[in-house]
């Protein structure tokens, strides 16, 4: 099963800000995501990677171009395309178990099934003991596990993740990366993971899509052929990291003279 599950064809996106400025966020983005693939999108901030993910999710409309998911164009959110957000996505007035069962509730599943499924996925993310807790009683890392469990409980074909570990401290982040791989290996969902951390992308992905900015497009696609779990001490790891960081640095080069000028103004 290696056929493309998602095809992004020539996506263009132009925003108009509240001040009336128009911003060209994405230009001619095309990519294919294969079934069971773990793809990371990395790029400098403001390159439109989150916007691209939201367009794939059907939360935003592209100005031009189409996203095709399993042969059908995506025009609105689809529960087969699950999503995990950076933070604050859990309903604070619901218990952890009721949050996990939210998608099943929308699908009008009976309460017994909802309980069973939410228990299963809380077990999967190691939070079975917190089923009756409220989100505010959990740490940031635990909340993101709940968000992942909630997305998986809906049994989507694809999991779109928008910097899900971006707000966590470095240690928790590494723990959750490991955990996500364990879950992915158990479930084998297709994952599209947006991050600005090159290290995170190399640790997780089968393929890394490097984006460039102004307007955002795909600059390069890098296959990572390293066995998991990946060892950060592996020389290949460092080489890849250096290579991608170089690309990103070239991307922000244009900004540098401006920055230097600002610094010299301050000094």
């Amino acid at each position: 099963m290696n056929k493309d599950i998602i095809k992004v064809k020539n996506i263009d996106k132009t925003f108009v800000t509240e001040k009336g400025q128009s911003i060209h966020a994405l230009q001619g983005v095309s990519l294919e995501i294969r079934n069971n693939d773990f793809v990371c999108l990395v790029g400098p901030s403001g390159c439109g990677k989150s916007t691209l993910l939201r367009i794939i999710a059907g939360l935003e409309r592209a100005s031009a171009g189409t996203v095709v998911f399993q042969g059908q164009p995506v025009t609105k959110p689809d529960k087969r395309l699950g999503m995990v957000f950076q933070e604050y996505s859990l309903l604070p007035w619901r218990t952890v178990a009721d949050n996990v069962a939210l998608g099943l509730e929308f699908a009008k599943k009976p309460i017994r099934e909802r309980r069973k499924v939410s228990k299963r996925f809380l077990d999967l993310v190691g939070l079975a003991d917190f089923a009756t807790s409220y989100p505010y009683e959990l740490s940031g890392g635990m909340r993101q596990r709940v968000a992942i469990a909630r997305a998986l409980a809906n049994d989507p074909d694809v999991l779109l993740m928008d910097e899900p570990f971006g707000a966590l401290d470095a240690h928790t982040r590494i723990l959750l990366q490991r955990e996500l791989l364990r879950i992915w290996e158990a479930n084998r969902k297709t994952i599209v993971f947006v991050t600005h951390s090159v290290d995170e992308a190399i640790y997780l992905a089968d393929r890394i899509m490097v984006m460039s900015k102004g307007p955002g497009k795909i600059r390069d696609i890098i296959n990572i052929n390293m066995a998991r779990p990946r060892n950060r001490a592996n020389p290949l790891y460092g080489q890849l990291s250096a290579r991608i960081l170089d690309m990103l640095e070239e991307e922000v080069q244009g900004d540098l003279p401006l920055l230097e000028q600002k610094v010299s103004n301050i000094v």
Binding site: A57, G58, L59, P77, D78, K79, L81, G82, M83, F85, E87, Y88, S89, L91, P92, W93, L102, G103, E105, F106, A107, Y134, P135, Y136, E137, A147, R150, A151, N154, L160
Partner: protein
């Protein structure tokens, strides 16, 4: 009761006790019950709330009449302001359509509506509205004049409306997005995301609205056609120089208002604890 809460209670009683002391002392000095009746006089009225006062019925029966009026006007305000506020908060089209209108009417004090309201409704009441002209129910319903309902409605409407708009406006966008990707349809977004997320703010507005509605009471009960209610009792007692009844009525209004507010707070603490703790 432990020592700390006893201490807190003692502290909270200091100012009221001082005021009562001042009142007690001043009343003895002034020796004129029209300017300031003695504390004992007023409390005698408050502790015998079932006795008939100046042939207008008891304090309790008047409070009940007032409560019914406030509740009718207030419920009307709740039923209109909350849906309107939610729609204005969610759809920018509705917001743009109605915002200027609301902004123009909100600053008008409820009392300024009185002449217009009298011209519109006169002395017609709920009984007139449903075409009742006699019987026991006529007596009850005729007490609830449309003009009073309108004044109370105006008072309660705007606080509820603005806090509903604000409540929906400030719902985290990510909550809506995550419900959408989980397969929520339009109605479910309203019922399961927007409404509960905005509920603390809406209920807070309902509490403020009830306070304002209660405050509009005296004004509403001064309107022609009114023959009962605490507000009317106060104005009538004033015309026959019974200041003790005026003060007893004021204290009753204060107590009932505080009690209603307290009930709202209980609900807020019980239901919306998450909001205080969620950050």
């Amino acid at each position: 009761m432990n020592l700390k809460s006893l201490y807190k209670f003692a502290i909270s009683m200091l100012v009221p006790l001082f005021l009562f002391g001042l009142w007690w002392y001043m009343a003895i000095q002034i020796k004129n019950p029209v300017i300031l009746p003695e504390v004992g006089e007023v409390f005698r009225l408050l502790f015998n709330p079932m006795t008939n006062l100046i042939s207008m019925g008891s304090l309790v029966s008047n409070i009940i009449v007032s409560l019914v009026r406030v509740i009718v006007g207030y419920c009307l305000a709740v039923l209109i302001a909350i849906p309107m506020g939610i729609l204005m908060g969610y759809y920018s089209l509705v917001y743009n359509l109605l915002n200027n209108f609301v902004g123009l009417f909100r600053p008008i004090p409820p009392l300024a509506w009185v002449p217009l309201v009298l011209a519109w409704f006169g002395v017609s009441s709920l009984a007139t509205l449903i075409g009742l002209e006699q019987g026991q129910w006529y007596i009850y319903l005729n007490n609830v004049k449309l003009s009073m309902i309108f004044i109370i409605f105006i008072g309660a409407f705007f606080p509820i409306l603005t806090s509903s708009i604000y409540g929906v406006h400030s719902v985290n966008k990510t909550l809506i997005d995550s419900a959408l990707v989980l397969g929520a349809e339009g109605g479910e977004i309203f019922r399961k995301i927007l409404l509960p997320a905005a509920a603390p703010s809406i209920v807070n507005g309902m509490r403020t609205g009830l306070g304002v509605a209660w405050m509009c009471l005296v004004a509403a009960e001064m309107l022609p056609g009114s023959l009962s209610g605490v507000g009317y009792l106060i104005t009538h007692a004033y015309t026959i120089a019974r200041t003790d009844i005026v003060i007893a009525g004021m204290i009753s209004i204060g107590l009932v208002g505080a009690l209603l507010d307290y009930l709202f707070r209980l609900v807020e603490d019980k239901k919306f604890g998450w909001q205080r703790l969620a950050r």
